[in-house]
């Protein structure tokens, strides 16, 4: 699936980094302005900002895509420090250790499966309603034609 924007030449890597740095900087400012009871991390604010800038055509996708693809491609390695950070919390594990790990692993499966099936269900319900509506409009159109 080749989209036309992927054929266009990417902006130089430094320009791309500048855009990322600028968005992150602004996101950081917005994030610190959020109330304590409703935290939004800079990365999430930045994702929304970048999406809005792209959607409203303020920046072009070829200005940010190759650097972004490179970062996403190595995301597993970027999360290694966060995995190893458990070394500092081994004491917490000792209290309820294995029970907590079991709950976390099962919770991961629950979140994945429940969300996926809920989407399937809601999509199915909407399809049923939508089909009824489209049938109704179809019959209306038929009547007009007649």
């Amino acid at each position: 699936m080749q989209e036309p924007q992927e054929i266009k030449k990417s902006a130089p890597i430094l320009i791309q980094m500048l855009i990322y740095a600028t968005i992150l900087f602004v996101a950081q400012l917005i994030s610190t302005a959020m109330p304590k009871s409703f935290p939004l991390p800079p990365a999430v604010v930045g994702l929304v900002l970048m999406y809005l800038l792209l959607t409203f055509k303020v920046i072009k996708v070829q200005w940010v895509d190759s650097f972004g693809a490179a970062l996403i491609g190595i995301i597993g390695a970027l999360f290694v420090p966060s995995g190893i950070s458990l070394a500092a919390n081994l004491k917490v594990m000792q209290a309820e250790g294995i029970k907590i790990i079991i709950v976390i692993l099962l919770a991961t499966v629950i979140l994945l499966v429940v969300t996926a099936y809920t989407t399937l269900l809601i999509n199915g319900l909407i399809n049923i309603i939508f089909h009824k509506e489209s049938n109704a409009t179809d019959s209306l159109q038929n009547k007009e034609e007649q």
Partner: protein
């Protein structure tokens, strides 16, 4: 010990264990315990534990003094990597706009059902009150989950561990779970599920399966954070956690 306090040690160790995992993963033709992130986490902690023994310090001191300075340098790049998910999201804007209502409704209802299931499970296994509270906000990214967990009376360190293990588990067992529950048929639900359960790492995993899945996972990462902030305090009150 002073040779190891240079940040380059942490950078080196992170990349070395990850690359070793990648090599093993290929050698074993995808054995799940050799999944690079999982392998890097286990072997990295093991190496730090070993070094702590050699230098007669505690593991957490070894981690903070020797590993963390370098680890933080690598971890910093998670921020630009997260905002980079706006690109695959933008590229499938057609799907996002067409399904905006389905996405929002599925995530809200999915989170509420999951919260009941997780609370029930945690209580059945016999976690303490604080342990149960620490499990609630794990569907949000770490930076949102930690303060939320604290506000609910949970232990932030446990919630942090949950967020990390979610990501590792998705990469290690994700394909297996997807196959068992036949989730691959519906790219929309699969993407939302992977973003909810696996956060940023789950989104990268979803992107490997397809552009729609990747875009949906990126949407989920953003929206779940907001939804959790709104839903979990009410849920905790109802369930008296």
């Amino acid at each position: 010990m002073q040779y190891l306090t240079n940040p380059l040690f942490g950078v080196f160790l992170s990349l070395a264990v990850y690359e070793l995992g990648e090599w093993l993963f290929k050698k074993t033709k995808g054995f799940f315990l050799a999944q690079p992130l999982f392998f890097a986490m286990i072997s990295g902690i093991a190496i730090l534990a070993l070094l702590a023994q050699i230098f007669h310090v505690s593991i957490s001191e070894m981690y903070t003094k020797a590993y963390k300075p370098g680890g933080d340098i690598i971890f910093w790049f998670v921020q630009p990597a997260t905002i980079a998910f706006a690109v695959p999201l933008y590229k499938r804007n057609d799907i996002v706009k067409k399904n905006a209502f389905v996405i929002l409704a599925s995530l809200i209802i999915g989170v509420i059902i999951s919260l009941f299931a997780i609370t029930f499970l945690a209580r059945a296994i016999g976690l303490s009150r604080a342990g149960v509270a620490s499990m609630l906000s794990q569907s949000a990214t770490t930076a949102i989950a930690l303060p939320l967990s604290q506000a609910m009376g949970g232990i932030p360190a446990i919630t942090a561990m949950a967020c990390i293990l979610n990501s590792v588990a998705i990469y290690a067992f994700g394909s297996f779970v997807i196959k068992i529950f036949r989730l691959q048929k519906d790219p929309l639900g699969l993407g939302l599920g992977l973003g909810t359960a696996g956060h940023t790492v789950g989104s990268a995993f979803a992107l490997e399966m397809g552009s729609i899945q990747g875009a949906m996972a990126a949407v989920a990462v953003v929206l779940i954070g907001v939804i959790d902030n709104l839903v979990i305090p009410i849920f905790a009150k109802i369930m008296s956690i």
